[in-house]
């Protein structure tokens, strides 16, 4: 098990290096940070000084290795736009995005699995048909449109929930949380639904089709022939067997939720990393963009590792080297 984790971490290194190269290439070739930072009026001396400060006078390889070295220490330089350390900026914004992502993922998983199991078990009931129709909406409408519709209904017409921002937050050291205040919780609802809806419908449809598949298998028929109760069969034998593909997709979707919170954060003016990223794109603030890119790559690598470990937990067939198969 330990060797497996180690090998996966080693495999992650080239992935991260490639992402670093792409991030760095943005530094080197997209836009001209010097002219952005200097503004309208500057002297030639100021210009050369800035180039020197940013290390832009060195060779490509030299610059890249410096970038890698700094990145490995979580040091991504200064934001061009805000002139503050990038790591600090991202650190401030990360809690907002993570809390939003966790809420969205929880909604997607809990509701998605429940609805998937229901529609799999009672596929001809009217409620199942309603769920399936609803899931088409979730799959086909883009999140920004869903967000705007939700704002229209719940903020503008009904006035129940705030249309933007994070509400009041409570600080715990560097972590700011919206979970502890009423306004913070209320502010979470709409963005979390918007962000999670697509994944919810995806998980629901996946669980449904897996359930239908598993319920047809011989071991479910045999479980019935053994007289086991419906609950043991549906939620023990059947659901557990649907988990492997669901974990795969749900894991990748969670990565997607964090990475692509950009749209939702923009619609709701949610002060998270996605909004920071969008604002940075507008200002060609490359250090922030590069750091964000690498962070997201790291998140995906981490989630993949967790997903692989969960396979081991769920499916004994993947646990190799544990007891040899017996002969006749």
């Amino acid at each position: 098990m330990f060797a497996f984790i180690l090998s996966r971490i080693l495999q992650a290194i080239p992935v991260m290096l490639v992402v670093a190269l792409i991030s760095f290439a943005m530094f080197a070739y997209v836009g001209d940070p010097v002219s952005i930072m200097l503004g309208q009026d500057f002297t030639e001396a100021q210009r050369t000084q800035l180039i020197k400060d940013l290390g832009l006078d060195q060779s490509f390889l030299m610059q890249f290795s410096t970038f890698i070295g700094n990145a490995a220490q979580g040091e991504f330089g200064l934001s061009y736009r805000l002139s503050r350390p990038v790591a600090q900026l991202i650190g401030e914004r990360a809690p907002a995005t993570l809390e939003l992502a966790i809420c969205a993922a929880s909604i997607a998983l809990v509701v998605g699995v429940a609805m998937g199991v229901y529609t799999g078990l009672y596929r001809n009931s009217w409620l199942s048909r309603a769920f399936l129709t609803f899931s088409l909406v979730g799959v086909s409408l883009p999140p920004f449109l869903i967000g705007i519709l939700l704002i229209l209904i719940f903020s503008v017409w009904l006035g129940w929930l705030p249309s933007f921002g994070r509400g009041e937050v409570v600080q715990f050291g560097w972590w700011s949380t919206g979970f502890l205040t009423w306004s913070g919780l209320k502010a979470l609802i709409l963005p979390a639904i918007t962000l999670g809806l697509f994944q919810l419908t995806l998980i629901m449809r996946l669980v449904r089709s897996e359930m239908l598949e598993v319920l047809r298998t011989d071991y479910i028929k045999f479980a019935r022939a053994r007289g086991l109760g419906n609950r043991a069969i549906n939620f023990g034998h059947a659901l557990k067997n649907t988990l492997v593909p669901v974990i795969t997709i749900a894991g990748l979707q969670l990565g997607g939720i964090i990475a692509f919170a950009i749209v939702t954060e923009t619609v709701f003016q949610w002060p998270g990393m996605g909004l920071l990223f969008i604002q940075s794109v507008g200002a060609a603030d490359i250090p922030v963009m590069a750091a964000y890119l690498m962070l997201i790559a790291l998140v995906f690598v981490g989630i993949n590792l967790v997903v692989d470990l969960l396979y081991f937990l769920v499916d004994p067939r993947l646990r190799v080297g544990r007891g040899a198969a017996g002969g006749h």
């Binding site: 298998t217 011989d218 071991y219 028929k221 045999f222 479980a223 019935r224 022939a225 053994r226 007289g227 086991l228 109760g229 043991a232 034998h237 557990k240 067997n241 769920v314 499916d315 004994p316 067939r317 007891g323 040899a324 198969a325 017996g326 002969g327 006749h328």
Partner: protein
């Protein structure tokens, strides 16, 4: 002794868009305690369907449309799901064809045994585990105390079928419905599994309905045989009589198609044609288009099971009234 299982005029239908298909029609037989009834026939003859109807697990939209199934004299074909569930596993055990797919891959064999026993019997976790180990020993799994915590994939096919047998027997049912229990196994393992089933059934006085298309297995194991064709019983009788001197032309053909081991043959005897689809069962005797002894009455009237002396066969050849009608066909018999 009163029979454990009585099937009376069982009829199973499948409503489809193009009308109702009759998968089983007028199937009747008994099984006495400790008796093994072999059920043979080609694929689609309704052998497995009969088994599924008895354990109450017909695939929807299939349903029992007529007749009765009695277990120890009580009707079970019309019980509500929950009551039937308590009978399954407790009073009727089932063994399926492919041991590679009948066990849940994510649970240890011990857990599957324990949950089955605890569903039906008031056992503590510890007692159930002890019994699970006992059952694995009884079906011949070496080092059962260790293997109880193994997953199905850690066993070979033959060993898995032993586990399946222990699962079918662990709540000590009175009747076992074994649906092709050896078909998916290597020939060398088949004999072991059949011997095991036979021994356990005899020890526990368990009645068994053994569905198979393997005549060797039937000859080895069964006390009586029912030959099925197109959803009906063509012939039923003691195993020796059916194997040695089948009366129904279909069962005779079936027996003749077993290759003899003691001499060389150029041609294997077969039966011309194939079984009719459920949607196109011919009028009269369903076997008449393939029958070498067919005569006028066979195409019009459907025969019921008739006494032939040693067995009962659904064939007009054994109706005294037919003889005068069709004397020329008797040459072939």
């Amino acid at each position: 002794m009163p029979p454990i299982l009585e099937v009376r005029d069982l009829r199973v239908e499948f409503p489809t868009r193009r009308g109702t298909l009759t998968a089983l029609d007028g199937v009747s037989f008994d099984i006495a305690p400790g008796e093994v009834l072999g059920v043979v026939g080609e694929s689609g003859a309704g052998k497995s369907m009969t088994g599924a109807a008895i354990i109450g697990l017909l695939e929807p939209p299939g349903r029992i449309a007529g007749g009765q199934i009695l277990l120890s004299g009580k009707r079970i074909d019309n019980l509500p799901y929950e009551q039937m569930r308590r009978i399954r596993g407790r009073e009727i055990g089932a063994i399926f064809q492919d041991p590679l797919t009948t066990l849940n891959p994510l649970y240890t064999v011990g857990r599957q045994l324990i949950e089955t026993m605890q569903t039906h019997l008031p056992l503590s976790d510890k007692e159930a585990r002890q019994r699970a180990i006992g059952w694995l020993e009884m079906v011949g799994i070496p080092a059962a105390a260790q293997r109880v915590d193994s997953y199905p994939h850690e066993f070979s096919g033959g060993m898995r079928q032993r586990v399946v047998i222990s699962l079918a027997l662990c709540a000590e049912p009175k009747l076992i419905v074994a649906d092709e229990p050896t078909t998916a196994l290597d020939v060398s393992i088949q004999a072991q599994i059949i011997a095991l089933l036979k021994t356990l059934a005899r020890e526990k006085r368990t009645a068994m309905m053994l569905v198979t298309h393997d005549m060797g297995v039937i000859a080895e194991t069964a006390d009586r045989v029912a030959v099925m064709y197109a959803g009906r019983i063509a012939e039923i009788g003691p195993v020796r009589s059916v194997v040695k001197s089948a009366k129904h032309p279909y069962s005779a053909g079936l027996m003749a198609s077993i290759p003899p081991l003691d001499r060389k043959v150029d041609h294997l005897a077969g039966i011309e044609g194939s079984m009719p689809r459920l949607s196109a069962i011919p009028q009269g005797c369903a076997f008449n288009p393939r029958c070498a002894h067919v005569f006028a009455r066979c195409r019009i009237e459907r025969p019921e099971l008739l006494e032939t002396g040693s067995t009962r066969a659904a064939c007009w050849l054994y109706d005294p009234a037919s003889e005068k009608q069709a004397p020329e066909v008797m040459r072939h018999v």
